[in-house]
């Protein structure tokens, strides 16, 4: 029987960790784009799109990410598409991220004082100009800290992709456990690697938040 040293375990987990990072980045960037599109639609046409976007957000925030992954995985098969865990996981996580980011950013836009909208109205700025020159820059400053904070949720969310067979850190942990029979060591290593990924991001988000609060006072 092959003996697995601690280094073998850590090395294989690190290799799989690349896919956790890759999937997180895809979901975060993709979710950011979709979320921004949703937010702009909602701001431009509050009467028509407001309800739809609110329903979309409620749907993704009120259901388990695991179910969303299953639906993406099996739904794609139903449409006759070639289902790869990669694509299903990226799709589900992108939509999930977009709903949360849309809601976070909406809060940031709402935090910009109403007077700013009225002032830019009185300057006869178009909708695009208002966002580009007045509201956007102010909302962006407020949005940075919570957006970075949400990245942690995305990284942790990718762990669920293991359930539909996407081989990332958690799935690699399960596979290595089945080969080594050392669940305690392996899952402790997996947890520490997630911690090593997420903790710096959390700390960064907290620092941004503190700095912003100082500037405001």
């Amino acid at each position: 029987m092959v003996e697995f040293t601690l280094w073998d375990i850590v090395r294989n987990l690190l290799l799989a960790g690349r896919w956790t990072v890759a999937l997180s980045l895809i979901a975060f960037v993709g979710g950011g784009l979709v979320g921004m599109a949703l937010l702009l639609t909602r701001l431009a046409k509050p009467a028509v799109a407001g309800r739809f976007v609110a329903g979309y957000v409620q749907l993704f925030q009120g259901t388990p990410l695991l179910m969303q992954l299953f639906l993406s995985y099996f739904g794609m098969g139903l449409l006759g598409l070639d289902v790869s865990p990669w694509f299903s996981a990226a799709l589900a996580l992108t939509l999930y991220t977009s709903a949360f980011l849309c809601e976070i950013w909406r809060g940031c836009v709402n935090a910009v004082p109403r007077g700013q909208w009225e002032a830019s109205d009185s300057l006869a700025l178009s909708f695009g100009e208002k966002l580009r020159y007045v509201i956007g820059p102010q909302a962006l400053r407020i949005a940075v800290a919570p957006t970075v904070g949400f990245l942690v949720q995305v990284i942790k969310g990718t762990a669920l992709a293991s359930v539909i067979g996407f081989i990332e850190l958690t799935k690699a942990g399960t596979m290595i456990t089945n080969a080594t029979f050392k669940p305690f060591t392996v899952y402790a290593c997996v947890a520490l690697m997630y911690f090593a990924l997420c903790w710096p991001v959390s700390a960064w988000s907290r620092r941004l938040e503190r700095r912003m609060r100082r500037e405001r006072i």
Partner: protein, 228 residues
Amino acid sequence: MLDFGAVLVDWPLLLRGAAFTLGLTAIAAILGVALGVACGWARAWGPKPLAWVVATYVELIRNTPFIVQLFFVFFGLPSLGLRLSPEVASIIAMVLNLGAYAAEISRAGIEGTPRGQFEAARSLALNEFQVFTRVVLPPALGRVWPALVSQIIIVMLGSAVCGQIATQELSYYANLIQSRNFRAFESFIVATLVYLAMAVAIRHLLNWIGPRWIYGRDPLGGRAAAGH
């Protein structure tokens, strides 16, 4: 084509799963919030070493995925001689998870207590425990109640993962149904909608319970006096 009938025929299984999920959530919510409040107290006012231990626990939990915490408890702890049933492992993981988030939330509430309230409470000769449980905690919980409710719902939704270690909750039964009739998409759609309904129901329920029994009953009967 989609065939929801094939899934809905098994409604007793879905009902049993949903009830189990609600049960898990109820236990985890009570124990988790209690753990969170204790940890929030330790971080705000506790002795330094204890505050440090709690901070480490909170950071460890908040920066690792729930599924890894669950696998660690269920698969990892038996090698230390601690063999757990899937249900107990699920509850332990959910309580530890909620506890960490609730600690941060309740700490924010506790730290928002105005100084004058302590001084008033001390001048009434209340001891430390009474000051905390009667003067500080109820309004602190009131301040952070919406955040706490959201976190409980997140933990309820997260419990879908517990089906992966064969805890017989809703997602476990959705999986069981689809393995029998091969209607995977329909089965998970139904389960997802049940989760959504439960999330909405829990939010309404807790928003109703909170001001009545959790943080509204202040010792002076202020709410009654204010004519609520």
